[in-house]
C-alpha cells in the first residue's frame, strides 16, 4: 500500500497540481512512515554493510525530496489568508523535519562508500540498543509460511517490526499487511530481544505461531 500510494503521488507530480486537503494529509502520513523505514534501513545497511539496503535508503531519500516539493506547492496554494498561512507553516515545519531525518539517514549510508571497516564497530554498538536489528530466515515448515503480515499481526503480538524481506534475488522494503511470507525468505526485523526470540523460534519451525498469540 505504501508503494501504491507513493506511485500515485508521483503521477500527480507530473500532472496538474490541484489543491487537495486529503493529499496533503496523505503526503504527510507517507513522509512520516518513510522516516520510520528509512532510519531502520540506514542502521541496517550500515550494520550489515549492505549496499542494496543503502541503495533503497538513497531511493527513499529522493522520494522524500519529491514529496517535500509537492507538499510545499499544496500548502502555498492552500494559504488564502494570514491565519491559513500560519497553519501551513506548521504543516511545512513537520514535513521538513521528516525530510531532515531522511537526509540524516542517507548521510549515514554514505559511510559505505568510504573505505571503512564498519562491521568492526557498528554491529557491536547497535547490539546493545533498546530495539535491535536482526535477520531471521523462514524455514520451510514454519507456521509463518503462506501467511500475510496482516494475518500474523506480528508487530502487535511480538513487538517485532518487519523492515524488509529478501526473497531470492529481490527485496521487499517496508512490507505491508498484504505481504505474504514464503519459505527461505530472509526477514530484516527490528524489536526487543524477547520478541525477536519468539519470532525466530516460529520462523525456524521450532514452535507454532499459536504459542506466540495468547
Amino acid at each position: 500500500m505504501r508503494r501504491a500510494r507513493l506511485e500515485k503521488e508521483l503521477k500527480e507530480e507530473h500532472g496538474e497540481i490541484p489543491y487537495e486537503q486529503t493529499s496533503v494529509r496523505e503526503l504527510l502520513t507517507l513522509m512520516k512512515d518513510t522516516t520510520e523505514l528509512i532510519t531502520d534501513l540506514a542502521y541496517a545497511a550500515a550494520a550489515f554493510e549492505n549496499d542494496e539496503l543503502a541503495e533503497e535508503v538513497r531511493h527513499l531519500e529522493s522520494e522524500m525530496d519529491k514529496m517535500m516539493y509537492q507538499i510545499r506547492l499544496k500548502c502555498m496554494l492552500g494559504a488564502r489568508n494570514m491565519e491559513a498561512a500560519e497553519q501551513m507553516t506548521g504543516i511545512l515545519q513537520v514535513a521538513s523535519a521528516t525530510e531532515k531525518i531522511s537526509d540524516a539517514a542517507e548521510d549515514m549510508v554514505k559511510l559505505l562508500d568510504m573505505d571503512l571497516e564498519l562491521r568492526a564497530i557498528l554491529p557491536h554498538i547497535l547490539s546493545e540498543a533498546d530495539e535491535k536489528i536482526h535477520t531471521i530466515a523462514i524455514y520451510p515448515g514454519s507456521d509463518m509460511v503462506g501467511k500475510t503480515i496482516g494475518q500474523l499481526m506480528m508487530e502487535s503480538y511480538t513487538g517485532v517490526r518487519l523492515i524488509a524481506v529478501r526473497r531470492q534475488n529481490r527485496w521487499i522494503f517496508g512490507p505491508d499487511a498484504n505481504t505474504k511470507l514464503f519459505p527461505n525468505d530472509l526477514m530484516i526485523v527490528r524489536g526487543v530481544e524477547s520478541g525477536y526470540r519468539e519470532v525466530r523460534e516460529v520462523a525456524h519451525a521450532e514452535i507454532p505461531w499459536s504459542e506466540v498469540v495468547h
Binding site: 502520513t29 532510519t39 497553519q87 554498538i125 499481526m153
Partner: protein
C-alpha cells in the same frame, strides 16, 4: 563497549524517544512533552560534542582514524535526527493553532501514537514493564508515563506501572485492540 560506544547508543535511543515524544506533543497539543524534547536535545548535543572531542583526540594515532571518522559521521546523523524532533516539538510551543491535517495524518501512520489510562486493578498494576514484557506481548512501546503531576520519560524495564497512570506509547495500528484488556480493571 567503551565510553564513546555508550554515548552513541544513548544518542540513538534518545533520538528515537525524542521523535516519538515530539509526535505525541503534536497529537495531544501537549507543551510539557514538547519541553521535554528540548531538554533531551540538550543531552544529545552534549553527547555529540563529547563524541567529537574524544574521536578527534584519538585520531592522532593513524590506527584509530577510521573508527573516529565513523563515530563522528554516525553521531552527526543522529544529532540531526534529534534536531528534527526539536523542529516538530517547536510547532507545539509556538502557539500557532495546528492545522487539523497534521493530527489526522499522524493518526493514519503505520506507527500510531496512543494514550491509555491504566485502570485500578488492571493486569499492569504494580508490575514493572520488564515483568509484563508489554512491548513483546502487545507491540506497544511506552514512551512516557504521567503519574499525577509527575512525568517519567523513556521508562525502562524496571519502571513500575500503577493504576491511574497515563501511558503515552507508540505501536502498530492494530496494537490498540491488543493492549485494551491489559489496561482494563478486573
Amino acid at each position: 563497549m567503551n565510553e564513546d560506544d555508550r554515548r552513541l547508543l544513548e544518542m540513538k535511543n534518545t533520538s528515537e524517544l525524542m521523535l516519538d515524544l515530539a509526535y505525541s506533543s503534536l497529537i495531544y497539543q501537549n507543551k510539557v512533552i514538547a519541553k521535554e524534547v528540548i531538554e533531551l536535545e540538550d543531552r544529545v548535543d552534549r553527547l555529540h560534542e563529547a563524541i567529537i572531542r574524544s574521536a578527534l583526540g584519538k585520531s592522532k594515532e593513524p590506527k584509530n582514524f577510521d573508527r573516529s571518522l565513523i563515530m563522528i559521521k554516525i553521531s552527526d546523523s543522529i544529532e540531526r535526527i534529534a534536531d528534527a524532533a526539536l523542529d516538530i516539538a517547536d510547532v507545539v510551543l509556538r502557539d500557532i493553532e495546528l492545522h487539523p491535517v497534521v493530527k489526522k495524518s499522524l493518526e493514519d501512520s503505520d506507527v500510531v501514537i496512543q494514550k491509555h489510562v491504566v485502570e485500578n486493578g488492571s493486569l499492569l498494576h504494580g508490575k514493572t514493564l520488564g515483568e509484563i514484557k508489554l512491548a513483546t506481548e502487545t507491540g506497544v512501546w511506552v514512551i512516557a508515563i504521567r503519574r499525577g503531576y509527575d512525568w517519567i520519560y523513556g521508562p525502562d524495564e524496571g519502571t513500575t506501572i500503577s493504576g491511574g497512570d497515563i501511558l503515552y506509547a507508540r505501536g502498530p495500528a492494530d496494537s490498540e485492540k491488543i493492549i485494551a484488556p491489559w489496561i482494563k480493571g478486573k
